[in-house]
Symmetry: C2
Subunit: 667 residues, 2 copies
Amino acid sequence: MQSLAPFLHPNGIVFVGATDKEGSVGRAIVENLLNFEGRLFFINPKRNEVLGHPCLQSIDQIDQPVDLAVIAIKAEYVPQTLIDLGKKKIQSVIIISAGFKEAGQEGIELENRILKIAKDYHIRIIGPNCLGVMSPYSNMNATFAKTMALAGGVGFISQSGAMCTSMLDYANDIGVGFSAFISVGSMSDIEFKDCIEYLANDPKTHTIFLYMETIGDTNGFIRICQKASFKKPIIAIKPGRSEAARKAAASHTGSLVGSDTAVEAIFDKGHVLRADTMEEFFDLFTFYALEEIPLGDRIGIITNAGGMGVLTTDAIEVNGAKALAPIDVLGDATELDYIKAWDELKDTHSIDALIVIASPQSMTDFVKIAEFTTQIKGKIPVCASFVGKKQTLEGEQVLKKQLIPHYPTPDRAAKVLTRVIGLKKKIEKAMQIPSLLDQPLPKKIRLPETHGRTLLTEYESKSLLEKSGLPVVKTLLASTEEEAILAAQQIGFPCVVKLNSTTITHKSDVGGVKLNLQSVEEVANAFRDMELNIRKGFEGVTVQKMSNLKGSIELLFGMILDPTSGPLISFGSGGIAVELYKDVVFAIPPLSMEEALDLFEKTKIDHALTGYRNLGPIDKKALAKFFSAFSSFIASMPEIEELDINPIIANKNEIVILDARIVLKSH
Amino acid sequence: MQSLAPFLHPNGIVFVGATDKEGSVGRAIVENLLNFEGRLFFINPKRNEVLGHPCLQSIDQIDQPVDLAVIAIKAEYVPQTLIDLGKKKIQSVIIISAGFKEAGQEGIELENRILKIAKDYHIRIIGPNCLGVMSPYSNMNATFAKTMALAGGVGFISQSGAMCTSMLDYANDIGVGFSAFISVGSMSDIEFKDCIEYLANDPKTHTIFLYMETIGDTNGFIRICQKASFKKPIIAIKPGRSEAARKAAASHTGSLVGSDTAVEAIFDKGHVLRADTMEEFFDLFTFYALEEIPLGDRIGIITNAGGMGVLTTDAIEVNGAKALAPIDVLGDATELDYIKAWDELKDTHSIDALIVIASPQSMTDFVKIAEFTTQIKGKIPVCASFVGKKQTLEGEQVLKKQLIPHYPTPDRAAKVLTRVIGLKKKIEKAMQIPSLLDQPLPKKIRLPETHGRTLLTEYESKSLLEKSGLPVVKTLLASTEEEAILAAQQIGFPCVVKLNSTTITHKSDVGGVKLNLQSVEEVANAFRDMELNIRKGFEGVTVQKMSNLKGSIELLFGMILDPTSGPLISFGSGGIAVELYKDVVFAIPPLSMEEALDLFEKTKIDHALTGYRNLGPIDKKALAKFFSAFSSFIASMPEIEELDINPIIANKNEIVILDARIVLKSH
């Protein structure tokens, strides 16, 4: 696959659609491109010059090597332009033009045509329907935005032009620059994963920010993010949380999961930090752009306002880091008191980051406190919060000039720091665990022959799970009364007899479940009762051991297919607790044993696993191994549409699946 | 009780501690007071004039009526000054001076002295250790702050001087004014409840904001807030959330509750909106100060950035309101498109509030969009979010001038609106329900004679609850085998025999619980076993009916004493779920039936109460009546230190307490 390098560092650019028409996209791009110092060719069949610069009438007039093209012409002319570019071996193309798949059936056909041409000529495309690309280190602004990004360390990839221009305007104000600024548009070819992969290896990029409306190739995205996250932080924002809430109401299973749950699972697996709100996205941007990542989680606070110090401590601890030694320098503090406090913090505590808080009081000189803060920068990561507006302004301007992150209230500083630290910890942990994504999946297990039936019987479901290495309660099929008795004798008493049927799905409703049978007679009666009463659909019974639930923890393993993520596996409290307490967590398969243990810790039932009252402790590692095996089984079986193991029971002595239900995809 | 009117609208002010010493608190106050248009007297025994104004040497030289004094002298001289003021019948005093209870034992004694003097002379005190009081409508600035508040509709009461000056600086910047600006300091006399009561009846005040470090008289605070909230919104911020987390780890019961839980319960009962963060506090301040409260919960959005519209919808729905009809006017929109969108929203949807979002794109004119927004103001509540910084600035300034709330990201606007709407709904609902606080408590129930023992036996606990009108499972005492058999025959089989003992607290551990006894013989055996095996501490048994838990919901009623709130009652999932799923909610007693039903809805087990799988439905109203009775019982019994009813079981046929445990306060 061709590198994205020509998109960011081209040896020359051809712009198709050059014009000097006032207010047009074409003119804006011409003006922006004029700062590019490499070869530059403007194309417009009707012009000899544009804004005083020479203009060619066609692509074949280009007489020097060029490796990037930008297209901003009517959609219908794009296919021919691509062919012309292809013939010239110009294989990196940014299509600004709209009018493709977002524009209905005709647009979809047009998009398919350009993709076909791109394939034929080995052309890679950014767009269509995008703002373009900025590459500050190459002085390249191939967009129609009004302003240019500064050069810096942030790689920004956005699916929304509006988010691009807002972020750019904000970044310019705080003096933050970019290594790459890519508007991916409708991602007909190049998508997030491609850009992330490139920026992960780009030495100028230290952090990657994403605004996503769709994820694109989920598996590719996860794989690439996992690797990239070991080199630099990836931060994303993605709308759609409330869609989940709506979907949640939709269906029985849906009440536990919506597509936003899948998005969370994808980001989690890719070690991508998801900003909860736009504000947090901008706040994280400010921090990562201006400061280093703290080495540990001990945050110091110096404040001239005691209450604000406590509120900041609250925000730190609520968000999961440690507030270490907030020092209240009191209301009449001068910058000298801040310096003294810093000396104390530095000498007596080992802090990893500092928040400087100041409120306008009688002796407060914000400029001097800003200068004090500047002295800290470079020693440890620092951010400031000057709380007010009129009186704080001058001090804030000093901070801005010195590229020190400033937040109008200190809880925002606290939240950002805790999230930055949280991501760092997560990635450090993940680096210790080999990812299963790079390992081969287990051998596929043969599905039973169902002749188009999609719902497997309990016996079929359990057999499949047993073959995959999961601990299934011993269950025997019996077609006759005699076989049932033999089975029961083999299994031992008490036992359970259940209807076996490929057509009846709710066994209990038809009297198809008889629990706690103590003798051969009771088993025989159970068989005869079912045979007699359930005429249509009776295909014999299964006999299984009666498990004593007392003192056992009821758990759930599950899987659903999500439109975004594909298979999404779940773990949680089983039995009735599933839906009442919704103590269930989701993940993308496969998971290693270590990842399974981490997942367990996000549930409440985990307390029981480690021993709680008369429950547990159970062999958590064994459970995690089973869940890991289950996750690999799911990953290897794309034929499965839905799966519920509920309950799987666990106690001091055993972990065993009592019931399971598998639905296959229909062909 | 004397009104607070003289503190805010005095006929004259005497300032004790006047000086012109550079940089002193006394001089700052003199300068600030000079703008007061009523009578003004400066007192300093060593001076004839201060800053060119006459100065008296002692209080008795004052020859005209004055009803407010401000004191900023050394703490040790304050008592005599108070006596002098008392003799002059000056009975409203702001003590700025520090050096009282915050300053150790000597300070505590000094504070007690001034409180004694205040009582003798009927003097009310604000402070000590405060910034002072501003009353913009009286041109009174009796503080040492550098700037004066504008006149407006916000009443601000703060226990932190730093929060005062920050808020003031912020408010002056956005052009927001105050009806009263009170720094209550250490609240030796006048506390939050007094100020709230006054401001609730002050026609100039439309909203009350509180920064609280302590609540003061909890019951008084709740009563006054309940009443005040029906007239105007009360918004508070209070540090200490993470203390709760720490306390939580401390003890068994504590793991479910910490003092911050009590604070939440207090605010909830007083209908006080608690800001989660400082940022939210400032954001709510901006909204309430500048805009009207929406009449309903339907929020419209007009945006030139689709993604930001969706993110805003997310924020609205995550926070519990309705996002109605976000209109995306697209990236190339001008203000004309915004106007068109507004016409559409207005005509085809009935929205209660509007968020205007704009990102800097090619055609975006922020000034014109701000002017469009100005046209909406007055029609319905509106706020704006111009996302960027450099390019948005001019438009933001128009918004500021027009007093339109602006938030740098739209999710903040969304969150504020949803919280404002949420509070309004809550208060409207509360207005329909008579508060139990104004009704007499039930008659006290006589406690059993325990001779200093604080832990009641199960039988004593249940009897007490039964007398209070709660449904307790029939339980009989039996001292002999014969009595036990008679009791069992009276109750019926199966039954339970439990040890009765005032000394053994863990009955199960000593074999003191025998379940599911089916016959007279089994009861007799159970009695004999206990009598034989548990020699020390055996005081007979209790016999109760064996309840069938199957199909029943296990619930919990509880009470603990919290240092802040006093008795705090709880409701939630009983049995093992209590601590595993922590499905418990807390409230301040007493609660009406309607309030109990609202409380239930905050739990997950509520789904079971209304019928869920094989559980319920149960008679929720009956349960709520019991919980209300329980809450009144708790409110009437201050001798109780701790109480657990677990489980109380509920099913289609009955609601009954199976076990209870009461701990009394030690004398």
